[in-house]
């Protein structure tokens, strides 16, 4: 990891120096190793660029605004394999401009979740050293260790791919996707529940929602200029759960809006302050789409037509299939 | 007095009380169409009262149940008793609804909010110059009629008022038939562009202001669209007005009206309670974010 971090900084400096790019989108150092912040850098500020096992955030959405503002030269962006799917999807939706971006793909063996480290009872963390398999953790209460696999970000436990699907160049060593669990196992478990059990599950999770909108604002697929939930004229605008119906509607409507476009980047669940597994709503749609129309991965290929917006005469009729009990 | 308005000690904590956010019901007794997008609503308490007393420049919250609540400046002067008038431009969700009301409709009202223009203190004995644009006449209307009712307390009164077109001049009938005909009040009207049937002045308010070349021995009271205010302020300073001679009233989003919900906070001020009336030198103290 330290090696990749060194490569990243070196390459950013070179590409700035030779004029290939005019600015760099990466992660800025924080107070502790886990609190990196997405940031733009130039020659003067590049020194604070870092890369570590805590760079789980997906930088692609920042390119929407950055591309609009970029008049000359390119923006260098560091994308992990899963982030490249979001990048492609944004290209497909004409939200970003490929010509304005220089993509450096960064190989990834899974990013870490500080919350999971703390859940192990490791408190007061001031530094984490990633040894590849295990972690050496410095805390104000002394040194601790844990297994890397125990504290992967939720999205990394079910990694969909280690393939970089778009890049101009690649840094780091390619990782194997051997430990990843079945991405749809949790969805299948929910499907296997009775209606009442499933209702109780979502009731328990969604009742924690505080309507901070972090899930929506971080989502690369949520790129509407003005969200329906911010539009007072829509009749559904609401900051908070006026009643229990609305708090569920927010997440369900959002899942519908991004269905077929969601690449399953997992940012919604990563940022949720209340730990709601929002990605499961999106994954249910992905699973259904796969089963109804054949396997489809949003963002795998720039310009691909998603099944939901691509009519063919062979298309399944979801309601018919549902009635037959085949779905 | 405690927050419930009952006769308790100030620090008493009350569970009987009415919260400040709860409006009282009132009825709309008259609706005048002023311009294609401005109507004036006359609001009277259900007991026939004026709901509450106010001073010129203060505001009130109007409620349409199920639609929402918003802050409006009170257009009528405290000297007009038994009702409150609100001249309201149709420009959003709540005002759409207000404009579709009929006479006899009940609404909620609470107030008064904000500080008034200093009509009984700093304005006393001064020559007054009112400068308004479009619906910006609404808050000044209250001051103008208060000054008319207490004419002996003030020096000269000049009113410069402009709007996009002749049809957009609010209170045109009153201006023509009452204000213009009153001794000691000079009214200057202007519209942005030439229009058939208009033989008055044509041009923007700030340029007309410069043409009129008032002496700087006046207190200026301004309200209008932000762009008008900006250029009027420039013109006044060029004409030799001191910042302490110029007053305006701000409009920011408000929800509570009592300095708690946080929306109208600019710098350390809350426009709903520390404003909306500010003197230009006070405004200069605030961060440029209003």
């Amino acid at each position: 990891m330290q090696k990749t971090a060194g490569l990243i900084k070196k390459r950013a400096l070179e590409l700035l120096a030779d004029g290939t790019v005019t600015k760099v989108l990466g992660w800025e150092e924080g107070d502790f190793i886990y609190d990196v912040t997405p940031a733009f850098f130039d020659k003067e500020t590049i020194d604070s660029l870092v890369f570590s096992s805590f760079c789980g955030s997906n930088l692609s959405k920042y390119l929407i605004k950055a591309c609009k503002e970029q008049t000359e030269g390119k923006i260098l962006v560091f994308l992990k394999p899963c982030d490249t799917f979001s990048f492609n999807q944004l290209l497909t939706e004409h939200r970003i401009d490929r010509e304005k971006v220089y993509v450096v793909g960064v190989e990834c063996k899974g990013m870490l979740d500080i919350e999971k480290i703390k859940a192990l009872g490791i408190n007061g963390v001031t530094k984490v050293i990633d040894n590849g398999e295990s972690l050496n953790i410095k805390t104000i209460y002394g040194e601790k260790t844990c297994e890397r696999s125990e504290v992967l970000l939720e999205k990394c436990t079910t990694c969909k791919s280690k393939e970089l699907v778009v890049f101009d160049e690649v840094l780091g060593e390619k990782a194997e996707n051997e430990n990843s669990q079945d991405r749809f196992a949790q969805v299948a478990a929910l499907e296997a529940m009775t209606t009442e059990e499933r209702y109780a599950f979502w009731q328990g999770e969604l009742s924690k929602c505080i309507r901070c909108n972090a899930c929506r604002n971080v989502c690369p697929a949520c790129s509407c200029m003005k969200c329906v939930f911010d539009n007072i004229q829509s009749g559904v605008a609401s900051k908070s759960n006026a009643d229990t119906f609305e708090e569920k509607m927010f997440h369900i409507i959002r899942a519908f809006h991004v269905a077929g476009r969601c690449t399953d980047c997992g940012e919604c669940s990563r940022v949720c302050p209340q730990g709601i597994p929002l990605h499961l709503l999106n994954r249910k749609f992905i699973k259904d789409i796969n089963e109804l129309y054949g396997d489809y991965q949003a963002g795998e290929e720039a310009g691909s037509r998603a099944p939901l917006v691509n009519f063919t005469f062979d298309d399944a009729e979801p309601s018919v299939i549902h009635e037959r009990g085949n779905s | 007095m405690c927050s419930c308005n009952h006769d308790h000690e100030k620090d008493h904590v009350c569970s009987c009380g009415t919260d400040k956010l709860v409006p009282i019901p009132a009825v709309v007794t008259e609706i005048r169409t002023e311009t294609p997008d401005v109507k004036t609503f006359r609001v009277v308490g259900l007991d026939g009262s004026n709901c509450f007393d106010h001073k010129p420049g203060q505001c009130a919250m109007l409620t349409i149940p199920g639609v929402g609540e918003a802050m409006f400046s009170i257009t009528s002067s405290p000297t007009e008793t038994g009702y409150k008038d609100f001249s309201i431009k149709r420009c959003g969700h709540l005002t759409d609804w207000l404009h579709s009301m009929e006479v006899g409709q009940e609404i909620g009202i609470r107030g008064p909010y904000g500080n008034p223009f200093p009509v009984d203190t700093e304005f006393k004995g001064q020559n007054l110059l009112f400068i308004a644009g479009g619906i910006g006449l609404a808050p000044l209307h209250s001051v103008i009629n208060y000054v008319r009712a207490n004419r002996e307390n003030y020096g000269t009164v000049d009113i410069l008022y402009g709007s996009r077109s002749a049809d957009d001049l609010v209170d045109y009938e009153e201006i023509k038939n009452v204000w213009e005909k009153e001794d000691g009040i000079n009214v200057y009207l202007t519209i942005d562009r030439e229009q058939e049937g208009w033989d008055g002045h044509v041009g923007f308010v700030p340029s007309y202001l410069k043409e009129l070349a008032f002496e700087a021995n006046k207190t200026a009271i301004i309200c209008g669209p932000p762009i008008m205010i900006k250029f009027v302020l420039q013109a006044l300073l060029e004409m030799g007005f001191e910042k302490t001679q110029v007053y305006t009233t701000l409009e920011l989003k408000m929800k509570c009206g009592i300095g708690k919900c946080g929306r109208c906070n600019v710098g350390s001020k809350y426009v709903c309670k520390d404003g909306p009336v500010f003197r230009l030198d006070e405004l200069d103290e605030l961060p440029d974010e209003y």
């Binding site: 107070d31 912040t37 733009f40 955030s57 920042y62 703390k118 408190n123 007061g124 963390v125 805390t139 104000i140 209460y141 999770e205 924690k208 505080i210 309507r211 901070c212 909108n213 972090a214 604002n217 911010d230 007072i232 609401s238 900051k239 908070s240 940012e267 990563r270 940022v271 302050p273 209340q274 730990g275 | 927050s3 009987c16 009380g17 919260d19 400040k20 956010l21 709860v22 019901p25 409620t63 149940p65 199920g66 929402g68 609540e69 969700h93 006899g104 409709q105 009940e106 609404i107 909620g108 920011l252 989003k253 929800k255 708690k260 919900c261 946080g262 929306r263 350390s268 961060p287 974010e289």
Partner: protein
């Protein structure tokens, strides 16, 4: 000073709950928040609840009034001012201080009747922080996690196999009198040791020595146009997670809900980070995220102190450090204006 065996905590809770509603940190679906205690509810001693304790007094959503309409007639019925007698257990020193900050907003004239009633009807029991974490910086704002008696009615300490109990206000004395049956008298030896232990830990907290000298009520001109805001706000998503987990953020929205049970006017938390916060029909005075971001921190570190005798509107709980999706927080803001010197 009193104590009760940790193993007998549920007896203490039952006793308190005889006459009052008890609220304390409870873990539900993996997250710890304040919740109503019933027989069988387990107290969770996590250092921090996800949401602060503020929504006990200033709930995320609360109904203020109901309307009835018939033709052109309307009726306005204020909802009942809450009269539940409550006890809040397990409040950390930082959250206790936040109540004082919220009081200066909601209980200054004109008082908010809903908040004031809840506040007056409650007893606050603080619990010393046996293991502060790296994101804690309450010391910067004068909070003592070892002895959180300020803004508290009863202070408690977990030490050894006991919970120690000390009333520090009249309300606290009254509650202690009510429940004395389940408590035993104690000397202060073990508590003093625990206080000393915690104080030693707080010296190791990396953010606990930040300086606030750049901030205060008279710093608007110095800070408002500072270049730092561009960089600090650059990655801000404009969500409300910092605001909603913050114990001192108190901005609210008032909205009408026209539902099956008539028209309700409710109040809910709002965030100055949201793009529609100051939006009016003709536009907003803060069109950029930089302006909205700056407003939040200027309010806490400059405007609020200007109106409240220099008191800052932050208690150093570190929730924003833990929860911001992009790891931007008030500690980074303070440091970027020289707070780490």
């Amino acid at each position: 000073m009193y104590y009760i065996e940790k193993a007998k905590l549920s007896e203490l809770f039952s006793k308190i709950a005889e006459n009052r509603s008890l609220y304390l940190p409870v873990k539900k679906n993996g997250q710890t928040n304040f919740a109503h205690w019933e027989e069988g509810t387990e107290y969770c001693d996590d250092l921090k609840t996800v949401k602060s304790a503020k929504d006990h007094f200033f709930p995320q959503t609360e109904s203020l009034m109901h309307f009835k309409t018939e033709g052109k007639k309307i009726q306005i019925n204020q909802d009942k001012i809450p009269d539940e007698k409550t006890v809040l257990f397990g409040v950390r020193g930082c959250d206790a201080k936040s109540f004082k900050i919220l009081d200066s907003v909601f209980m200054s004239e004109p008082q908010d009747a809903f908040y004031t009633a809840r506040r007056e009807n409650s007893v606050v029991i603080t619990t010393a922080c046996s293991s502060p974490d790296e994101a804690c910086f309450c010391g910067v704002f004068g909070v003592d996690p070892a002895d959180p008696k300020a803004d508290s009615d009863v202070v408690t300490w977990f030490a050894g196999d006991k919970l120690y109990w000390e009333a520090v206000s009249e309300k606290g004395e009254a509650l202690t009198e009510e429940i004395k049956d389940v408590l035993s008298s104690s000397d202060e030896k073990e508590v003093e040791e625990e206080k000393a232990r915690i104080s030693e830990i707080t010296k190791l907290l990396p953010l606990n020595n930040m300086s606030l000298s750049a901030f205060g009520g008279d710093k608007t001109d110095a800070l408002f146009n500072a270049p730092q805001w561009d960089k600090l706000s650059e990655a801000c998503l404009g969500c409300g997670s910092c605001t909603f987990v913050c114990p001192t953020c108190q901005c609210y929205d008032v909205r009408d809900y026209n539902g099956a049970n008539g028209i309700q006017r409710y109040r809910c938390w709002d965030s100055c980070m949201f793009s529609d916060f100051t939006m009016m029909a003709h536009g907003t005075n803060r069109p950029t995220q930089k302006q909205r971001f700056r407003q939040r921190f200027m309010h806490k570190l400059v405007y609020f102190p200007a109106n409240n005798n220099g008191e800052f509107s932050c208690v150093g709980c570190g929730r924003c450090v833990a929860r911001c999706p992009i790891s931007m927080n008030i500690a980074k803001v303070i440091k970027s204006f020289g707070g780490d010197k």
